[in-house]
């Protein structure tokens, strides 16, 4: 990469980078994507048919993956779309097919304690709003620009290590693969008819 461009990118307002790297129409995309994510989340919590909820959750996951792209995290965005929207939601749809009897989708939507749940969630929202209002001074006004193009390599070097050394999270990565093995075994054993 151009070394002069590197120096120009450090701690600079995002509108004054060179033409190849400046983000375009950031507020429009941010409000569009966050509106989609929040609308999808609202539909997940309130639709009667579980398949509608699953589709709304897929919309939310893809909107959040695009928000990761806006936050200069392309690897996490790709992992989110492939694993979350492409794996976990397909699993949910299969289970909905297996367990959703017709009676369940014509039942009442909310359980017996829904006022308590709603009051708790409103209290939680009030707590978040007070935290954001009180802590506004902690966050900087502008976001610094980050050079693109090496995000995946840097994440990979943190996960796998480089040049014979271990990365910071190599041990956690191995533990995560062990966790997936245990989850696979648990799911298979639990759904067997005769153990």
């Amino acid at each position: 990469m151009n070394p002069g461009l590197h120096q120009a990118l450090i701690a600079v307002d995002t509108t004054s980078i060179g033409p190849g790297m400046a983000p375009v129409a950031t507020p429009f995309f941010f409000y569009l994507l966050s509106g989609l994510a929040i609308a999808g989340g609202f539909l997940v919590s309130t639709r009667r048919n579980p398949v509608h909820c699953a589709l709304a959750l897929i919309v939310t996951l893809i909107a959040v993956a695009n928000l990761y792209l806006m936050l200069y995290a392309p690897f996490v965005a790709a992992v989110q779309i492939m694993v979350y929207a492409g794996g976990i939601m397909v699993l949910f749809l299969f289970v909905i097919m297996l367990v959703s009897i017709e009676r369940a989708s014509r039942d009442r939507r909310f359980n017996r304690f829904w006022p308590v749940g709603l009051a708790t969630a409103c209290g939680l929202m009030a707590l978040f709003v007070s935290a954001f209002v009180k802590g506004r001074a902690l966050f900087p006004d502008r976001m610094i620009a980050i050079p693109e193009g090496s995000n995946t390599q840097q994440v990979a070097s943190m996960l796998y290590g480089e040049a014979g050394r271990m990365g910071q999270y190599t041990f956690a990565f191995e533990i995560a693969s062990l966790l997936l093995l245990v989850a696979i075994l648990g799911a298979v054993i639990m759904t067997k008819k005769k153990i």
Binding site: F30, V76, V79, L98, R109, F132, P140, R142, L180, A187
Partner: protein, 102 residues
């Protein structure tokens, strides 16, 4: 227009979190409760990646990847439990899952 800063992303993550909490606490269908838990995990992921952008380090993104892995494992096991329970009791209603009640 106001430039988009970290707080904007945190507000979106908080809204998704509260919507997930509403789904967990108020829905009757167990599958939808599990989907709301996934929504909560996504809100936490968005928070982590926003902070990773704010500080310029990649630890938040690596932690977000681990949370995605963990959510996959948890969804698989939770749905396995649900299928086993459905096979025994033929209901997916949280109001009727009360075998451990006193």
């Amino acid at each position: 227009m106001v430039p988009i800063t970290t707080i904007h992303y945190l507000v979106v993550a908080a809204a998704l979190f509260v919507l997930g909490v509403i789904g967990v606490l108020t829905r009757r269908n167990v599958v939808i409760v599990l989907m709301s838990i996934e929504l909560i995990l996504n809100a936490v992921n968005l928070n982590l990646v926003a902070f990773s952008r704010m500080w310029g380090r990649l630890d938040g993104q690596v932690f977000a990847i681990f949370i995605v892995v963990d959510a996959a494992a948890e969804a698989a096991v939770g749905l396995g439990i649900l299928i086993a329970f459905f096979r025994n009791k033929d209901t997916i209603n949280v109001d009727e899952i009360d075998l451990l009640k006193w």
